[in-house]
């Protein structure tokens, strides 16, 4: 374990993340401001379309925040997995020329995504205050929920990035899956829109749906359907968590196996 958190690795990690950030807004006039401006503008569009025109979620208190939180968490998941997917191939120059721990590349990409998430959560926080949402103690669950999403995304990232080295189809496949997932997860619509309880349960098996609903419950309003309320305490309310663990272990195993041959396969 000690070798993983050595001084050199820490220095390398911070330098890789730094580079990533410097390059992200390279040549743009507003620079880092974009990391706040972008979610703000996207949120504005969605707010106008879904809340003002389509009038979704009129029965949900603070629906705009509810919507925003869902989008922010999903964006984190989607950004982290799709950026990790190409990261091993994208860093092929390093992998072929020096001895860099392979997981470090995935890890640095994931940290960039986490930093972005926190910037986005700042925007959410601003709206929380503006909308005068009363926070309850349950907000303390949020960090744990974020950790769950992170672990889920990490497991997938490990698998996807390693698979992408061999099969370049992965990027297209994943793009489609993400798009499908976005609509299968109650992000734009409240789960109450689905009246069939069986389908509600099925949708909540997805770790992302479970996490987003839990986050909304803990931060925005307790009038949110979560696995806890829906399954009324049955053991299968843990299915999403089990899925997360399975994905992480599977991803780790596959990555570890493939990592040996990255240098020659890229």
């Amino acid at each position: 374990m000690k070798q993983y958190i050595s001084k050199q690795n820490k220095a390398l990690l911070s330098e890789l993340v730094r580079t990533d950030f410097k390059l992200r807004y390279q040549g743009s006039v507003l620079g880092y401001a974009w990391s706040l401006l972008r979610p703000l503008l996207i949120f504005l569009i969605l707010y106008i379309v879904f809340v003002k025109f389509l009038r979704l979620g009129a029965d949900v208190p603070h629906f705009p925040i509810y919507l925003l939180l869902g989008i922010v968490l999903w964006n984190f998941f989607s950004e982290m997995t799709s950026q990790s997917l190409t990261s091993i191939v994208g860093r092929g120059d390093l992998i072929r020329k020096i001895r860099i721990p392979r997981w470090m590349i995935i890890f640095s990409t994931s940290i960039s995504a986490v930093i972005n998430l926190f910037l986005n959560l700042l925007v959410v926080g601003m709206f929380l205050v503006l909308n005068k949402v009363e926070l309850s103690w349950s907000v303390l669950w949020l960090p744990l929920i974020i950790i769950e999403i992170y672990i889920f995304a990490l497991g997938l990232s490990l698998f996807l990035s390693a698979a992408f080295v061999k099969y370049r189809d992965m990027s297209y496949i994943w793009e489609v899956i993400l798009q499908a997932g976005f609509y299968l997860t109650p992000i734009l619509y409240p789960l109450t829109l689905i009246t069939n309880e069986f389908f509600q349960k099925l949708l909540l098996m997805n770790p992302m749906a479970q996490a987003i609903q839990d986050a909304r419950y803990s931060v925005v309003t307790h009038e949110t359907i979560t696995t806890h309320t829906l399954f009324e305490g049955g053991w299968y309310m843990f299915i999403p968590l089990i899925l997360v663990v399975v994905v992480l272990l599977g991803g780790l195993l596959y990555f570890k196996n493939e990592a040996k041959y990255f240098a020659e396969n890229i």
Binding site: Q8, A11, E15, L23, I98, I100, D169, A263
Partner: protein, 391 residues
């Protein structure tokens, strides 16, 4: 592993799988599986390679292109994983497969220094401490806040080298880093090598350059076709290395008749080597006798520079006038004063007054010289000694 051993390589083999058409898509993977088609070829790059490097040794690995030396280097560096066998490393190893790995053209020189330093295992603090030194050594003080893409390639190499030499490692692995840069830069490289040698660092150097092997290495190893051919004294290894080429190049490459002006004349030249001499067996067969004609030879280096010429009416050799009355056979012995390079020969049959070419045979023979000449007479405008024998 004994304490004085830095690297121990035991029975290492490596095979690469070379797909015929790289199946980087799922579809082709499925199709190949379904058809049970073997879409790849296996290439054995290293066979059962074993050797040890002691601490403090300057160890050279030499071999021709494609001999497996770079693969071996990457295996030692932990970039590739061996199929079988084991590699044990005693100490911290830093590989330099290339200078300036991870350099990003969009970042400034300064930012790249820190990034590259981190890749070499330095913390930000350590880098800050030696930043000024690095910049000064690279002589780039004025350019550090410019983007790397605005640097000349020489400046980039200087910066990369300046960081690289600061690497703190027990074992350094260098891959022909020398091959780039101008003379002043190469001098810096050599000074660095000499310093490493003085400080008794463990170094593995992979190179083509036999001069630097003999100059720096305390031991060297020759690999060819994935096998260790020789392991020991650098001078001996350099000798063996040059012998690898002799089999191939001693006879020269026959290229047929080249371009022919007059289809009625046939010419053939064969090339052989003797210690210190080159031999050309020339055979010219005219269909009809040609009167008042001379034989002319021009030798070129591969880059097209003319290095030697001769014609049969040049004074001193007293050749008969009627060279092309019938078949001409002669042997030319030429003193080898030329630099190591590739050469080719053109053969002409010209009218004595040079008004007409009867036949032009371009590229009639091609050959190569691998070892540098001991005497550099050629540079001083010397003409090689020459002997002609009619047969």
């Amino acid at each position: 592993m004994a304490d004085d051993i830095a690297i121990k390589v035991s029975n290492v083999s490596k095979t690469f799988i070379l797909p015929h058409e790289k199946h980087t898509s799922l579809k082709s993977a499925f199709i190949n599986f379904y058809k049970r088609k073997k879409g790849y070829e296996k290439q054995q790059v290293l066979n059962n390679v074993s050797f040890e490097v002691k601490k403090g040794e300057f160890f050279g690995i030499v071999g021709r292109n494609g001999s497996g030396k770079s693969t071996l280097l990457k295996l030692i560096s932990g970039i590739y994983t061996p199929d079988t066998g084991s590699i044990e490393i005693n100490g911290k190893l830093v590989p330099f497969i290339e200078l300036g790995v991870g350099f990003n053209p969009e970042l400034t020189g300064r930012e790249n220094v820190f990034l590259n330093g981190a890749l070499l295992g330095f913390s930000r603090k350590e880098m800050e401490a030696m930043y000024d030194e690095i910049v000064e050594f690279a002589e780039l003080e004025r350019f550090m806040d410019q983007k790397l893409k605005n640097y000349s390639s020489g400046m980039q190499v200087r910066l990369a080298f300046s960081i690289a030499i600061r690497a703190k490692a027990d074992i350094l692995v260098l891959d022909e880093v020398l091959a780039v840069g101008d003379e002043a830069f190469q001098k810096k490289c050599y000074e660095y090598f000499a310093e490493l040698k003085r400080n008794k660092k463990t170094v593995i150097l992979v190179t083509h350059d036999m001069t630097s092997v003999q100059r720096f290495c305390s031991r060297a190893m020759l690999i060819d076709g994935g096998d260790v051919i020789e392991n020991g004294n650098p001078a001996h290894v350099a000798q063996k290395y040059s012998e690898l080429f002799i089999d191939q190049n001693d006879k020269g490459k026959k290229l047929g008749n080249g371009s022919v002006v007059n289809k009625n004349i046939k010419a053939q030249v064969e090339f052989r080597k003797k210690t210190g001499y080159w031999l050309f067996d020339i055979q010219v067969k005219p269909a009809k006798p040609i009167k008042n004609a001379v034989l002319a030879l021009i030798m070129f280096k591969k880059d097209g520079t003319q290095v030697w010429n001769w014609a049969s009416d040049y004074p001193g050799k007293n050749l008969p006038d009627n060279l092309f009355e019938k078949e001409l056979k002669l042997e030319i012995t030429l003193e080898d004063i030329f630099p190591a390079d590739g050469f080719y020969l053109n053969l002409y049959i010209k009218a004595k007054d040079r008004t007409k070419d009867y036949a032009v045979f371009e590229n009639v023979v091609e050959f190569e010289k691998v070892l540098p000449s001991t005497a550099h007479k050629y540079d001083n405008g010397w003409q090689p000694k020459m002997k002609i024998q009619l047969k």
